[in-house]
């Protein structure tokens, strides 16, 4: 397994999450509404960050499947806050590539009339930091 210490520390620092607190109960994944869409599930996220196995995460679409609903944060008995880790990895992607997952130009095509304003705002916040 490849460990990327620099990125690992960076992600831990950005997120303020201590992945070592995880006791591997899997409640985050049990609770995740986007579980089936994901390649890497919340508990794996935590585990992979803890092990410095960051590269696959950077390239995984799972990053953008996370709804940031924070159910995992709410339910985690160890206060690990997996969603914050996901967010931190997203940020790391942006910083590393200098490229956003979406740009403002991509957005109009995705909008249909049912799209709530709040979703747009939240999408911009999430994908285009």
């Amino acid at each position: 397994m490849e460990t990327n210490k620099y990125l690992q520390e960076e992600i831990v620092r950005i997120s303020g999450v201590n992945p070592r607190k995880c006791m591997r109960c899997g409640k985050c994944s049990a609770t995740c509404p986007a579980y089936d869409e994901m390649e890497y599930h919340p508990h794996q996220f935590v585990n992979m960050v803890e092990n410095g196995d960051i590269e696959p995460l950077l390239n995984s679409k799972s990053l953008y499947k996370c709804l940031s609903c924070f159910a995992c944060i709410d339910r985690c008995p160890r206060s690990v806050q997996p969603a914050k880790l996901v967010e931190a990895v997203r940020l790391a992607v942006i910083r590393q590539q200098g490229a956003n997952h979406m740009t403002a130009n991509d957005v109009p095509a995705m909008i249909d009339e049912d799209t709530p304003q709040q979703l747009l705002v939240s999408a911009f916040r999430k994908y285009t930091k």
Partner: protein
Amino acid sequence: MQRIGVFVCWCGSNIAGTVDVKAVAEALKNEPGVVFSTDYQYMCSQAGQDMIKEAVKEHNLTGIVVCSCSPRMHEATFRKTAAAAGLNPYMVEIANIREQCSWVHKDMMTGTEKAVILGKAAVAKVNLNTPLTPGESPVTKRALVIGGGIAGIQTALDIADAGFPVDIVEKKPTIGGKMAQLDKTFPTLDCAACILTPKMVDVAQNENIRIFSYSEVTEVSGFVGNFDVTIKKKARYVKEDVCTGCGACLEKCPMKKVPNEFNLGMDNRSAIYIPFAQAVPKVATIDPNACNMLKNGKCGVCAKVCAAGAIDYTQKDEFIQEKYGAIVVATGFNPISMDKFDEFAYSQSKDVITSLEFERLTNAAGPSAGKLLRPSDGKHPHTIVFVQCVGSRCDACAEKGKEYCSKICCMYTAKHAMLTRDKYPDTEVYVFYIDVRTPGKNFDEFYRRAVEEYGVKYIKGMVGKVTPEGDKLKVQASDLIANKQLHIDADLVVLAAAIEPDQSARPLATMLTASMDTNDFFTEAHPKLRPVESPTAGVFLSGACQGPKDIPETVSQAGAAASKVIGLLAKDKLTGNPCVAGSNELMCNGCSSCANVCPYGAISYEEKEFRMPDRTTKVRRVAVVNPAVCQGCGACTVACPSGAMDLKGFANSQIMAEVDAICK
């Protein structure tokens, strides 16, 4: 001024090999207070001790300094020697010139120099020593056990067996505690009632045991051997000594819609009630919050039907004062509230229950008479999901749950799963676990049987969400091994709720000045070596009040606590350590700093009247140390800013004299 004799031991060549003992004796001769100084090959030998005794007589010595091995070795020996010579044993000081000098230094000159300095420090200290006498206090030969669960019952029986009177105070109308609510016990699966109720009967019949049921401890004062305790016997509106427990009143009572706490509210009882059939004492109790007669004076049926005439609506709370030599805390545990764990829909569905409720559901004396039926519709459940670690092992910062492992859940869940599969083989049973912890005799075998013989489906992972939908409970969980998210339509969900100390423990700890940890479990005097004693002398710990425990562990701790109590009560009087703290009341300002740091609750406060310089009097609060309780650590002496608190045998002045002598 003291008349000090200095005795320098050679310890064969152990000391004399690296320390010029003659030179040490010579040098110390010139120290202030020293009137005699000599050396000898083996000071601890009979001849050496005789030499000391003679010197005491011949030179009228008032203090002794022995330069020898560690005081941990022979301090007791030389104290006895001094006592035999008519000196107070605490007028002896040891200068450790073997372990801390001759054995760690190679050079004769260095060793001798240091030995002289250590000797001087000891002389400086003896110059300030005063004779000390250990205090004695009598022992009241009666024990109090607070809590009447299995822990309290076992402790009381063991103490009573040794011939000492014991009182049990139980806040519920009956003893028995949590164990009385259980169905079967792991790992042997014998019925809880079958093994518990005979013990309860033993308690009731034991002449040395009194039961104060429906009672609480309201006040504790005193100290080891001499506790004064006030017990509040709550009014049960039934004369305990008259009631025969026939149950006629229960049948006739018109108020029958009171949630039955013994069955955790899953069925109802009457306003006058006996918690369960084998209750001890088997006496009815009127619930004043439910009884119409007590609430508005309109009823009185029970009094009419009671043939014995035991009903007394005018009964008042009664306060009983009693003296005890020892107190055992056995306040037990409760499952934590599930209110904060709404992801499991506990408050939304009747079919999400705790394990303790499951116990009642499967118990023959329970609300469903032992048939496993769903509380909502009374149907037989075909899919049952057990969730482990609900509220246990949570992060300290999390807003809900406990940091510790509740220890018993893995085993009782295995038991529940196994029993379910045994009785209802058509039932699918899932157990979601994080780890299965089975350290205990025959425990892992038990768990494996559940899996291998009974086909219980153990899934590593946690349940994330339970949603009631129609008559099903949609369980969403993760299977970490399969790396899948599972969706199970369950009929019943059982939560292994964490356990916590009973709420009565915290106020009780305050009354007893016994320390507690942040989780409100009582702290033991030493985590390894004194696990059943509280740091507060005379207070002992039994059962889950000290930490999560299963029944075998509780019973063994109960026995251990009892043996400690018996050891204490067997003594006629307690001899204290004379090196205790004492407060100079003229200097004490009553600020409580000392009491705050005292681990033994040895410090109390008195309002004392003082004559003031202007000839008026003033009442001031001052600290008083109970020498029978003080262990002499000295924490208070440093907490005291005015220096009013000092420690006998290690006084400020003595330690400073040692510092001075060493730094000279």
